[in-house]
Amino acid sequence: MSVPSHLNFYIDASRCIGCQACVQACTECDTHKGHSMIHLETVDRAHSTQTIPVICMHCDSPTCAEVCPADAIKRSEDGVVQSARKPRCIACNNCVLACPFGVPKMQVEFELMMKCDMCYDRSSVGLKPMCASVCPSQALFFGTREEIEALRPQAAPIDRFQFGNQTITTKVKMMGPKSVAGQRPEHIDVTAAMEEHAPPRSVSLGVLNGAR
């Protein structure tokens, strides 16, 4: 069985409300029951309620697999990058350090790298992964390209990411605003974005400092 090719995973961080439903539901998935593979990042709680859910992006050429000395990480033909195989994984942490998205988790108690496998037991039979099933904001969305285009006309899915000199294409897509011309942005330059300041769209209580 494999994940049907018409079903895709889309992340829209602008929708995330930090409720942790994804984190809690991830622990209910049979492939890694009791352990959440989601990274729900709180960006800067002192100044914002912003949070960003990070699941495995399921890269076309997964860096985690490329750096694995034990060849423990497999990408199945449907493009899902699986958790490390227990008999092979030597818990060396290479994948944890190398993944540009910071996804794999070293489970010290099992001496095993575990990561999001898109709830393979569910997605491989056409069911939504747990996180995207429950996500109350649908920041995590699992469905067809036609559905996402109809539901989110102002956003475009992006699957190319630039980290310095490394270009990564992924199975999971990140929703970004369409450019002014309504064109789909080519890629997200992650390292360049790290230098940028918060977008002006962010709401702040600065209004209270201003004159009436």
Partner: protein, 756 residues
Amino acid sequence: MSNPPSNLLPILDRFGPHVARSGPMRLATDAEPDRLVKTHCCFCGQQCGIQLKVKDNVVTGFEPWYDFPFNRGMLCPKGVKRYLQGAHPDRLLTAFKRDANAPEGFSPMGYQEAIARVAAEIARIQKAYGNSAMGVLSGASLTVEKAYLMGKFARVCLKTPYIDYNGRLCMVSAGAGNKKAFGIDRAANPWSDIPKAELIWISGANVAECAPITTEYVWQARDNGAKIIVVDPRITPLARTCDLFLPVKPGRDIALFNGVLHLMIEKGWIDRPFIEQFTVGFDKVAEHVASWNPAKTAEVTGIPERLIRQAAEWWGTAKTSFLMHARGIEHHSHGVQNVLGAINIVLASGRIGREGCGYGTITGQANGQGGREHGQKCDQLPGWRDISNPEHRAHIAKLWGIAEPDLPGPGVDCYEMFRKIDAGEIKGLISLCFNPMVSLPDNSFIARALGKLEFYVTIDFFMNETARHADIVLPGSLQEEDEGVVTQIEGKVIKINKAVECPGDARQDWKIVQDIAAALERPTGFTFDSPRAIFDELRTASKGGVADYSGITYEKIERQYGVCWPCYSESPDGKPIDHPGTPRLFEPNSWNPIAKGAGPYYFPDGKARFNVAPYTPPAEVTDAEYPLMLTTGRVVSQFLSGTQTRRIGPLVDQYPEPRIEMHPRLAETMGIKDGDWVTAESRRGDCTLRAMVVTTIRPDTIFIPYHWPGRKSANQLTISAQDPISKIPEYKVCAARVRKADGPPEWAGRLEPQQG
């Protein structure tokens, strides 16, 4: 008499709250469940559909219910982990009696013996002091069947006027405001109208944390091009990316609504034809808001004038819109006026009763809607009837088989009941689904009042903080151990299905109440054999009332994924019909039993009412001694008084203990850093908690979530001032001050996070 043991530790050891986590059976990945039960979440008013996995009479997990239209599989963290409340080590498996010799304060007793004792005490108290010396407290998390039964039990079995419910802390301001303006009290629109609106106005509602699934509807509206306005003293997760954020001073919402209406009138942004055809009272309101110019509005609300002008322009010129509010504007000593102010700007816009033009309050508790319709409220009879209305009284008395004069008159709100307990008028109390030691304001008064009761019996599945004061605790049922209906946020009646049997001596709450009636030798009217039988009587009782459920059946609910009331069993000319229910109220040509075709609103002339909503400041304004405003609310991982959610490990981990949110500008003046122990004080009490220093709150306001008990309770500080109409307490604003604490509180390191 009813005081808990002074040493808390033995009672915590025996009864918790302890946290439950997934054990072997629930973690097993190869254990196929015996069955999946389609039902709903046990927590908030959205009532998300969920499938519970059941194995060996234990709920072992969940599977999303994708087909249920409201949430389509979506759940918040509470819904995801709710299954951990079942098979819980703290579960009450027998009745308990107060035992001064037991370190934990209680010893187990047989169920029949407990019922006999309860009946004997009720009989004794009523013989000595009269029927009205007994009081009943119930709750809006109960099914409609149980809520109906509790109202009937108080009036018919106990013959006391004193029943009220915890919806008093929740929905009553919205209810009273809607009744005054529309003649009916229900969200006017299905949530499917939200994504069809081009402007969403959210006042006093932390949607992302308190009604998380509603977030998706709001975001879908935004993705369809809508603008979003949020009015709140805090930048909530939903407010973070809204188009216009109005940082209102707690308790000043009515001033904002009046100011917006002022601008709408001045600029001609009102729907004159709608106002003339469908409403009355506009001129008086227009006259009243004439003085609410933007400068005055800005001064009172603390919102910059340009933002008020922007909000009024967007609201005034929108073609479609959805306005929603929640406890943020309702938990005030002028909560009803706030609601009326909100309704005034909706009516002036003419955007109601149509697709994509909506208004609604966001229901809090599971059955916050249905629980306020069928008679557990002190002034109400089933079908949203009025206990003071002779016609309504005669109708229900006849159905209940009693003489109309024997039906007690209106009682008092739940807080006033505690004042009556304190004054010695109410001597005995029965409670179900209510934890006032955590949920009522100024809770040291509540403890004092409970101590004066001659007899207190509570029905619960866990020993909650109020149950510790009881003489007898009867083991009740969890939501998944019973069936019945609940009316959710959209006014849609949905069906709770039984997944497992009650463990041990525990049994369904309605059986316990009927057992008490039988032991009192007053069984007439309390011999139902099933929730369905109760529902059938309720359908008849509600027939002809505003909240008409007579056309709803369990089967129709299942077939339609819920039925919105009113759902009639007869056409206006008296012929039996198969009515589908009423998803959207106030459609221009709609019929209702009050207007009888005169118009879409539930008054004899069919017209909606504008109501003058004068601004008054909060009951307690800030001064030099208490210069800050304290506001309280919820976090996403906890629910209400935490009786259930403080016993679920993963939810406790997510937000273990309450913290005091404050702005760095305030914190700096006292040398407070994030994570420091801080003491917050009001004229009623104090509590020492860790600081959470964030720029997402007004610098003149502090926020404490209220789910925790004892010395961690925000309600040690809150004020018991109440709205004069709805009697809702003013949880959302009182005067307070903070200082760096002298040291950690005495419980630090001694009690687990969820305990208190």
